[in-house]
Each structure stands twice: as structure tokens, then as C-alpha cells.
């Protein structure tokens, strides 16, 4: 439940009017994604915000920006974006939504292969 406007009433969720402003690019986005799920990140730049304390539960005092660092592919399930807090290094994983920026998702997905720690040639034709 990151990146949500604090002033909004949680019970408002589901109303099509609830919005939040992206902490990074400033885009105003609806809290509800087209698939009905609650957004935790901006669909345009995929940045999020550390608003939930997952250890103690409830709201976090951190509030810093969380940047997307990795794409996780659960065995049976949709892609997840791993976010890391730019201030406290907290890690979260949240599902992607249908209108998330596909180019940024792809860039995240291929980035490790641009800098492999070993020569990929040794694998031949995989």
C-alpha cells in the first residue's frame, strides 16, 4: 500500500475518484488500477513511496521514494516489481498492472544481461 495520498480515507479505496501524485514525476494517477487492484507505484515511471511499515504494520515514518530495481517472475503469477527505498533500503515486491510502462519494465528486465559477471559465450546455445 505504498504511494498513496495520506489524506485520503482508506475506506475511499474503490471509489474511482481517489488519486495520488507521483513522488517522482508528479503525474496524478488513480489509486485504483484498471484491473481493480490498488496501485503501489506510478504507472508511468514505476517509482513508489515508502508509506507502509511492513515489519511493524501500519504507516511508515520513512515516506521516501522507492525506486524499481528488479523484475521477479513468480512460478504461477504475474510479474512483480521489486522496489528499494532510496533512504532506508527497505525492499518490497508488488504486482505489475496492465497500464504500467512496458518499456521501463523491459529495461529493468534486461539490465542484468547487459553486464553479466561471466562471459555468456561459455553457455553456447541455450
Amino acid at each position: 500500500m505504498s504511494n498513496t495520498n495520506e489524506r485520503s480515507n482508506p475506506s475511499d479505496f474503490g471509489s474511482r475518484t481517489e488519486t495520488f501524485a507521483c513522488v517522482w514525476c508528479g503525474l496524478t494517477v488513480t489509486a485504483r488500477a484498471p484491473d481493480g487492484g490498488r496501485r503501489n507505484h506510478c504507472p508511468s515511471c514505476l517509482q513508489s513511496r515508502h508509506v507502509h511499515d511492513h515489519v511493524a504494520g501500519g504507516p511508515s515514518e520513512c515516506q521516501a521514494r522507492m525506486s524499481p530495481i528488479s523484475i521477479a517472475v513468480p512460478r504461477n503469477g504475474d510479474w512483480k516489481i521489486v522496489h528499494r527505498c532510496t533512504r532506508c533500503d527497505e525492499l518490497t515486491a508488488h504486482g505489475v498492472h496492465g497500464d504500467d510502462n512496458q518499456l521501463i519494465l523491459m529495461r529493468l528486465a534486461v539490465r542484468p544481461l547487459a553486464q553479466p559477471p561471466f562471459p555468456l559465450e561459455v553457455f553456447g546455445n541455450l
Binding site: 528488479s70 517472475v73 521489486v82 525492499l91 515486491a93 528486465a109 539490465r111 553479466p116 559477471p117
Partner: protein, 138 residues
């Protein structure tokens, strides 16, 4: 297996850790992996301490916020969830605790199985549900 990227000192302080898998500690400086049962030497090339099995990449939830601090009481099995490259190019694994859900980021070691790492790296690209090739052509 040669490594292209030079090793950089850790940004966070790390305390030296004796064992990764405390339940299976055994003499001779090795432990038995909780996942694949491999006998793994404690020393890991290129890192201050070994965090995960070099063959199956499975770890145990024994650390808190600082790698090597042994501050977690959980002890659950942690599976490699995904992989990313730091700005300096070094590959890092994201581990996910199957018991409590905690996520942690860990450096790869010099003797981690390259094929296991590569499988993690290409997982998003080999997902048949996503038209990756079409997107890459954009």
C-alpha cells in the same frame, strides 16, 4: 569461471559470519545446504561471508538489516526471487523468505553456479505470457 567486474568493497559494514545455515553446522568449515544438501565450504570468493548455497542459491533467514548480523529469529528458508545489477554492474540476488515474507538483497559469490544465475537473469525474458520479443523490437 572468470568474472569481468572488479570486486568493490561493500557499502554496508559486514560482520564476519561463521555459518549461513546454523542448524547444519559441521566441523571443517562447511555446512550442508538446506535446499540441495550440498556440502558447502564457508569461505566464499569475493565476499565477506557466504550468504547462500552456490549451487541452488537457497539461503536461510538468519540476518536482520545488516548482512552477517545474525539478528533474525526466523530461520526460514529463503529462495532467490530475482536478480538485479547494481550501478557498478555487480549482480545482486533478491532473496524471499518462505516463512515470513522478508526480502533481502545479497551479493553473488565468485563460485555461484553461473547457470543458476543466468536462469534467474533470463526468467522475465523467457516468460511465454509476456510478448517480450515484440516489446524489445520497439
Amino acid at each position: 569461471m572468470p568474472r569481468r567486474n572488479p570486486r568493490h568493497p561493500d557499502r554496508r559494514t559486514q560482520r564476519r559470519k561463521d555459518v549461513t545455515h546454523r542448524a547444519d553446522q559441521r566441523p571443517g568449515g562447511a555446512f550442508r545446504c538446506a535446499g540441495c544438501r550440498l556440502d558447502v565450504p564457508l569461505g566464499a570468493p569475493g565476499t565477506a561471508h557466504r550468504n547462500h548455497c552456490p549451487q541452488c542459491l537457497i539461503s536461510l533467514h538468519v540476518d536482520g538489516r545488516v548482512p552477517g548480523d545474525r539478528a533474525a529469529d526466523c530461520g526460514g528458508r529463503m529462495e532467490a526471487l530475482s536478480l538485479f545489477a547494481r550501478p557498478d554492474g555487480e549482480w545482486m540476488l533478491i532473496h524471499h523468505c518462505l516463512v515470513c515474507g522478508e526480502l533481502s538483497a545479497n551479493r553473488i559469490a565468485g563460485d555461484d553456479n553461473p547457470l543458476a544465475l543466468l536462469r534467474m537473469a533470463v526468467r522475465p525474458l523467457s516468460d511465454s505470457r509476456v510478448p517480450v520479443r515484440a516489446l524489445l523490437a520497439l
